[in-house]
């Protein structure tokens, strides 16, 4: 369960950044990446956070994962406060982005073991979980090869295994299919679907409406840091005035 309540995130602008942004930013010292957003994600449901590039999706997800602190408002993950109980929050979370984010000089087994050690997993639990994931993802044939020697698909599987090794109850996917080919994207989609079936809370950010339509139970549309639509996917579909999801999304963003 994730509860985001009235969260705002401001970033200070350096002199160099103000200069680069132009004259209108000359006297502005701070920018709001996220502006007073609220939403809830429930176990067993996939929540889609949609918006164009620079809308504030990654900032919102990084705040949920405790990498960034909200300037105001609060975030609860499985009942733990993201600021006061950051470590507890991180123990609940699996965080995955479009980048495989792996260490090339380690093997998949070492990579997964490293993450498991950071999560404080005991040996027995680790071995059991590793066997389950490596069997399910068909990783045993390359588990002891250096990651640098693996194909993109193998790397993606390793990335999934390292995200899931500690069996998190909350999954955060930040544009997980961005830049990936169709085959690899499909394995990620399958993973997200699987997490939902296992009753995990899933939050997913992206801008490909096809994926959103295929996966999400609930959606929030974020634009310029503000959420201007937050409801179930079914309701969104029912309220559509355009023929496709892309057109509807552009129409709604354009209205703002």
């Amino acid at each position: 369960m994730i509860k985001v309540k009235s969260v705002t995130k401001e970033f200070s602008l350096s002199r160099k950044q103000r200069k680069e942004l132009g004259d209108q930013y000359k006297k502005i010292k701070k920018v709001r990446a996220v502006d007073n957003i609220s939403f809830e994600c429930h176990p067993g449901r996939i929540f889609g956070l949609l918006g164009p590039n620079g809308a504030g999706k990654t900032t919102a997800l990084r705040m949920i994962a405790t990498m960034l602190k909200p300037s105001s408002g609060s975030i609860l993950v499985s009942g733990y406060d993201s600021v006061d109980e950051g470590q507890k929050v991180r123990e609940q979370i699996g965080f995955m982005t479009g980048q495989t984010a792996l260490y090339d000089r380690l093997t998949p087994t070492e990579m997964v073991k490293y993450i498991a050690d950071l999560y404080g997993m005991d040996k027995q639990n680790f071995n059991k979980r590793k066997k389950y994931l490596f069997d399910a993802l068909d990783m045993n044939s390359f588990s002891d090869q250096r990651i640098s020697q693996l194909s993109t698909g193998m790397k993606q599987k390793t990335s999934i295994a390292r995200t899931m090794i500690h069996d998190p109850s909350v999954m955060v996917f930040d544009e997980p299919t961005s830049g990936l080919d169709v085959m690899t994207s499909r394995s990620i989609i399958a993973l997200i679907r699987n997490c939902q079936e296992e009753g995990k809370t899933v939050i997913f950010s992206g801008h490909r409406m096809g994926e959103v339509n295929q996966l999400c139970d609930d959606i929030a549309i974020i634009y310029k840091g503000k959420i201007f639509y937050n409801d179930t996917m079914d309701k969104f579909k029912a309220e559509m005035t355009k023929s496709t999801f892309e057109e509807e999304f552009i129409f709604r963003v354009g209205e703002e």
């Binding site: 970033f11 200070s12 990084r62 994962a65 405790t66 990498m67 960034l68 602190k69 470590q87 991180r90 123990e91 979370i93 965080f95 982005t97 980048q99 495989t100 984010a101 792996l102 260490y103 090339d104 000089r105 380690l106 070492e110 490293y114 993450i115 050690d117 950071l118 999560y119 404080g120 250096r146 390292r162 955060v172």
Partner: protein, 396 residues
């Protein structure tokens, strides 16, 4: 204890990186003995060449000072070239066809006979390596001059003591270890300080900016490890790399000296006196805090950078900041005192010099340790603080 998990992983990671291994282990061990060998060989070859070299002289005014001409002509090393035209002498010297020309004044003998100064002009090229030509001419002329002075004094019934009021006997109380220590000790610390810095540089860049570039930073930031765990884990590995590199550089020097074929036995004996286990342990105890200082500084800058490339350009100028105080320490006259003991890098350089020479002052040594520990501590605090700043970690 998550920092140990991070340190263990980072250690595995860098030991599998060929570039890190070359920088950490191979280069310091091979480079210094190799460098010693190359410099020594070139220098001895040059010196041998210079000493065996024939010196070509043009002697003008042979008829005015035949005895002086003979003094040069009878030397095996000297070839007197009489054919060179007078107006081409300078260009011949410039082109190095001729080493020097000696001009004797027509009044030479008259001046000598009248107890006056005879004028002699020497033309030579000052860039001549090792000053062999100038030294040879000076030596022949000086012998001749002494003969003339002695004769003049004899004629005047004077003893040579009349123009030599003192008989000075300089007795050096510095031991051979001390003297060699002050010379060799000046540049030895320079090498292992630089190597320590170089050894820390690549792992620091890889573990900070490299992690950002690969996108793996988010993976560990979203894990239960705290920021302090992450910084400490990385810092320990960078420091270990710096320490090992400096240690191997020191070992490389020792090995290089021990296996050097042309080294005089007395030099080897002094080197063995200087590089005792105690002295090596003392030097290493200085390298440990200075490695901590370098590592925290490099890691902090690397974490600030957006990419590996940017980190390299940020760290580049720092090289000069490190080399400069290390270089100052090699200069003669700069000694370890209450003030220089407080300046990081310079204090390591100067203290190592004194340790090698066997003249280290324990009070200054304590001051050096305190200064290094304080600076290392401040650098670590700065690094942790830097890592806690969102604007550094997610700098875009």
């Amino acid at each position: 204890m998550k920092f140990l998990t991070i340190a263990k992983k980072e250690l595995i990671d860098i030991t599998r990186d060929r570039r890190s291994i070359i920088m950490m282990l191979v280069l310091p061990f091979v480079l210094i003995p190799g460098l010693f060998g190359v410099v020594y060989t070139i220098q001895s070859q040059q010196a041998e060449k210079a000493s065996e070299q024939q010196i070509k002289l043009r002697f003008l005014g042979k008829e005015y000072a035949p005895d002086l001409y003979e003094a040069f002509a009878e030397l095996d090393k000297v070839i007197i070239l009489d054919q060179i035209p007078t107006d081409s002498i300078e260009s011949y010297i410039q082109e190095e066809y001729l080493d020097a020309a000696i001009y004797i004044n027509r009044d030479y003998q008259k001046s000598i006979d009248q107890n006056k100064q005879a004028q002699i002009i020497i033309k030579y090229k000052g860039t001549d390596s090792f000053g062999v030509t100038r030294d040879l001419i000076k030596s022949v002329l000086s012998t001749k001059e002494n003969q003339i002075i002695n004769k003049r004094m004899d004629d005047l019934n004077l003893k040579p003591d009349i123009v030599k009021a003192f008989e000075i006997d300089y007795k050096d109380v510095a031991s051979a270890q001390e003297k060699l220590g002050k010379i060799a000790g000046g540049f030895l610390p320079y090498f292992f300080i630089i190597f320590g810095f170089m050894g820390a540089m690549y792992p620091a860049l890889d573990l900070g900016a490299g992690e950002k570039e690969r996108g793996t930073l988010e993976t560990i930031l979203s894990s239960p490890a705290t920021r302090l765990d992450i910084v400490l884990g990385k810092f320990l590995v960078v420091m270990l790399a710096a320490f090992i590199t400096a240690f191997i550089a020191l070992g490389g020097m020792y090995f290089g000296i021990q296996t050097f074929p042309d080294l005089e036995p007395w030099v080897l004996e002094i080197v063995n006196q200087m590089l005792t286990l105690k002295n090596i342990a003392l030097i290493m105890s200085l390298i440990l805090p200075i490695s901590a200082f370098f590592s925290a500084l490099l890691l902090g800058l690397s974490i600030y950078a957006k990419s590996f490339k940017e980190a390299q350009s940020i760290v580049g100028p720092l090289n000069i900041a490190i080399i400069f105080p290390a270089l100052i320490g090699t200069l003669p006259g700069i000694e370890l005192n209450a003030i220089t003991s407080l300046i990081p890098i310079l204090n390591v350089s100067l203290a190592s010099k004194d340790i090698i020479a066997g003249t280290i002052n324990p009070y200054y040594m304590v001051e050096v340790y305190l200064s290094l520990i304080v600076f290392a501590g401040l650098a670590i605090l700065w690094c942790v603080n830097w890592f806690n700043r969102e604007s550094t970690i997610f700098r875009n």
